[in-house]
């Protein structure tokens, strides 16, 4: 079934009786070429590109809950390509290009809105850092404009330009940055993968990974054993537990990151805006809710909820930057589980077990990476060599110390990102 404006009009005039479920609910087969553990954004994108780019259709995605029920539906939906370091820069640049063609490719409205992203700076040092980052983005072929204070005021007149503690000196403007509808990204990839023959199997928890003679032979699940030639682990948030089934220990510690949504308001925040002096970022959803967040709570947690001190910090940052939203009421807040690596960059690589591959460690930046992560992981699974955009995301970079990608420059240590 193709979606189009014409189709919506026709269904509206005929009582919406023509819509059908957009993916099957198949029973798991006893064997597949490739089994992907995890039916989130990255896993579904991997399955989609395995089928669409590499022609591998004997593929199953095993999801313990429901499709898109994890972090892909629990983030602040920001899409950007403003990374600085080689390794990250080309990967996120590729991801943004995939985003820009995603709706046409999937025939699915993921509500990708390139409304522009402005990272504010508040000191000479921050200005220098952002100028340098902007140059790196331009060198990568992406867009970046360094705004002075008046340039920011023109775009964001509602900010508090009068406050002197953290004066707004300017901002780095990334016009192609923006947001997308997070659930729709998972659903769009799921629909595309299913249409190409991929089995999407929900309520199917992997309870064991079968390894014989140093190679993977299949998985044990709550719906029976499934043999597989290759297995991909794409379970950010639970990577450690799943990898442990194959006897692996990962350089990952799970942390909680909170997000907040207010009641629906008329349009007030037209862009994605981030505050440079308190780690706060905000956008407004198409429904009108202000969607915002801040830093990690900074301790290992799987609770999927945070603590009040960080909530207070985020509210303080909001009020410092834009007191105009002070009377908006917060409707809900939640916590997502972040796969934190020591250097803050992800992992897409083979594992020491033959035929077992892993895509994990997305820290607090996994949503924007969904298309390129799926693209690169599908390439790795299909061809057994890394895609050029993701060659740097090696599992062994911590052991060797070579190729660490520490965007914050704080050191490759667990408690510093």
């Amino acid at each position: 079934m193709r979606y189009s404006g014409w189709r919506i009009i026709r269904e509206a005039l005929t009582g919406n009786r023509g819509w059908a479920p957009v993916w099957r609910d198949p029973e798991p087969k006893s064997a597949y070429d490739v089994v992907i553990i995890g039916g989130g954004g990255h896993g579904l994108a991997t399955a989609y590109y395995l089928a669409s780019v590499h022609g591998l259709r004997d593929v199953a995605v095993l999801e313990k809950g429901y499709l898109g029920g994890g972090s892909v539906g629990r983030n602040t939906t920001i899409v950007r390509a403003n990374y600085y370091l080689p390794g990250n820069s080309e990967f996120y640049s590729h991801s943004l290009k995939l985003w820009e063609g995603l709706e046409r490719e999937l025939n699915y409205n993921v509500m990708h809105s390139q409304r522009g992203l402005i990272n504010l700076f508040h000191s000479d040092g921050q200005r220098d850092a952002f100028a340098r980052r902007g140059n790196a983005m331009v060198n990568q072929g992406d867009d970046a404009i360094l705004l002075d204070r008046e340039g920011v005021r023109e775009l964001l007149p509602y900010l508090d330009f009068g406050q002197v503690r953290f004066p707004i000196r300017g901002g780095l403007y990334h016009p192609r940055g923006g947001t997308a509808r997070h659930d729709a990204v998972a659903w769009g990839y799921a629909r595309g993968a299913d249409a190409r023959g991929v089995d999407l199997i929900q309520n199917c928890e992997v309870t064991g990974i079968d390894v014989e003679g140093g190679g993977v032979t299949g998985v044990q699940t709550t719906r029976g054993p499934i043999r597989a030639r290759k297995v991909g682990i794409v379970t950010a948030g639970r990577s450690g537990q799943v990898a442990a089934m194959a006897g692996l220990r990962l350089p990952i510690e799970s942390h909680v990151l909170q997000a907040f949504v207010t009641e629906g308001l008329k349009p007030v925040i037209d862009h994605v805006v981030s505050f440079g002096m308190g780690h706060f970022y905000i956008s407004q959803s198409d429904k009108g809710g202000l969607v915002f967040g801040g830093d990690l709570d900074f301790h290992a947690s799987y609770a999927a909820r945070g603590n009040l001190p960080m909530a207070e910090h985020v509210m303080e940052a909001a009020m410092t930057l834009m007191p105009v939203i002070g009377k908006a009421r917060v409707l809900r807040s939640w916590g997502g589980i972040m796969d934190m690596t020591p250097d803050g960059s992800p992992i897409i690589d083979r594992t020491p077990v033959g035929g077992l591959y892993i895509d994990c460690g997305w820290c607090y930046g996994g949503f924007k990476a969904v298309p390129a992560s799926g693209f690169a992981f599908a390439h790795l699974l299909a061809q057994d060599r890394p895609h050029p955009t993701a060659e740097a995301f090696r599992l062994d970079r911590f052991a060797t110390g070579r190729g660490l990608m520490d965007e914050e420059g704080t050191g490759a240590q667990h408690n510093l990102h």
Binding site: R249, E253, S254, H299, A300, S301, F398
Partner: protein, 82 residues
Amino acid sequence: MRLSCPHCGERDRREFTYKGACLTPPGGDWGAAWDAYLHLRENPAGETRDLWYHEPCGTWAAVTRDTVSHAVAGSVAARDAR
């Protein structure tokens, strides 16, 4: 979440700085054991023991707590945790 300090008892989380999993550093030169100590983690969903610095009294505490429920079971001084 309120954490416990072996010295001061139950205190506000804001008085503590998180360090990470409570592990014993290996001896000797760089090798697989150092990589494991610095980078690899059990990362349990459930009971864990991690190091926190209690700023008001300057104690390094090894806190036993649950990463799923945020319940805190207690703590000992880091030097007694090995």
